[in-house]
């Protein structure tokens, strides 16, 4: 009887270890780190995760899905991030030049002090809509791995392209503008 119980116990222990190995292998095989960006850049057009966040530039909240019907450039930034400072004037210019084409530039300030973010907005004279994602929850749901990171979302709420790092560089701008045109065409 005791021998049987011991055998059963050993079987359960071996089974648990095997299960843990299977889980580990599965997570290693399926983890794509920044999945949304990878899918978008493979041309799969995944749906952009919806969110409702407090406005940074004014009172109230903003829901991403409320912008359906327009193309949206979702830009994750933080006031302490140096490339974010470099690309901020370009994003403002992009917003001013394309807002009449149904394009919205939407800034998500993430992992940041609200007061620092407001100083950043003043310093660069940003007028495009801004929301506050202090704890970085939405940055996580978009699979953001660093700042800045930019997602181009089409009129139907699908991600057309994703850009890690600043989008103001001469080499990136054409790709971004092409993705925006594609998002506006849907």
């Amino acid at each position: 009887m005791a021998r049987r119980a011991r055998l059963v116990g050993q079987g359960v222990a071996v089974g648990l270890v095997a299960l843990l190995f299977i889980l580990l292998a599965w997570s290693l095989l399926t983890d794509e780190g920044g999945t949304l960006a990878k899918k978008a850049n493979r041309g799969e057009r995944p749906a952009a995760p919806d969110f409702t966040l407090e406005r940074l530039d004014e009172t109230g909240e903003l829901e991403l899905s409320s912008l359906k019907g327009k193309a949206v450039v979702v830009n994750f930034w933080a006031s302490w991030c140096i490339p974010c400072k470099e690309e901020a004037p370009f994003l403002e210019e992009l917003w001013r030049e394309n807002r009449n084409r149904d394009l919205v530039v939407l800034g998500l300030d993430s992992k940041d002090f609200r007061a620092d973010a407001l100083r950043f907005v003043d310093r660069f004279g940003l007028t495009f809509p801004l929301v506050y994602d202090g704890p970085g929850d939405e940055a996580s749901s978009f699979g953001v791995t660093g700042f800045p990171e930019t997602f181009v979302v089409d009129r139907e709420g699908k991600v057309v392209a994703a850009f890690k790092g600043g989008v103001d560089g001469e080499d990136v701008r054409p790709e971004l503008l092409e993705a925006i045109d594609e998002a506006l065409e849907t």
């Binding site: 302490w80 992992k111 940041d112 002090f113 620092d116 202090g134 704890p135 970085g136 929850d137």
Partner: protein, 149 residues
Amino acid sequence: MIRSAALALLVGALAAGPAFAAPPNAADLEAELVCPVCETTLDQSNAPVAERMKTFIRLRIAAGDSEQEIKDELVAQFGPEVLAEPPGGGFGLLAWLLPLSALFGGAVVVALLVRRWSRRGPPSEPPARDRLDPELERLVDDELARFDG
């Protein structure tokens, strides 16, 4: 009269106690808070946001904030993940309860095993083949008696 004055002073000092509490220590707070980007404690991180948080802590200490007020403000800005130790309520309670229950479970298992082992009777007599032949045993006894005598 003197006794009442001393009593009044003592009561006054006790009531004013918190006002004279030592200010929080920046190094202690940096060890108890996590950088939201690199996810190590602030004292282990030199990420820009961690440096900014360290400056914030020093400014708030200088402004007279308590340790709890500083932590509350950082949680309001960055969420509860900035606390190196999970909060004692809600889901964070699990982080405290699980290791304690594992410890308790281990102690119960050890106690049961000790009890089981202690219930086993005294060691049984050695098998017959390990015992001396009666004739040989008698000879050994005689020799020992002679040796002692």
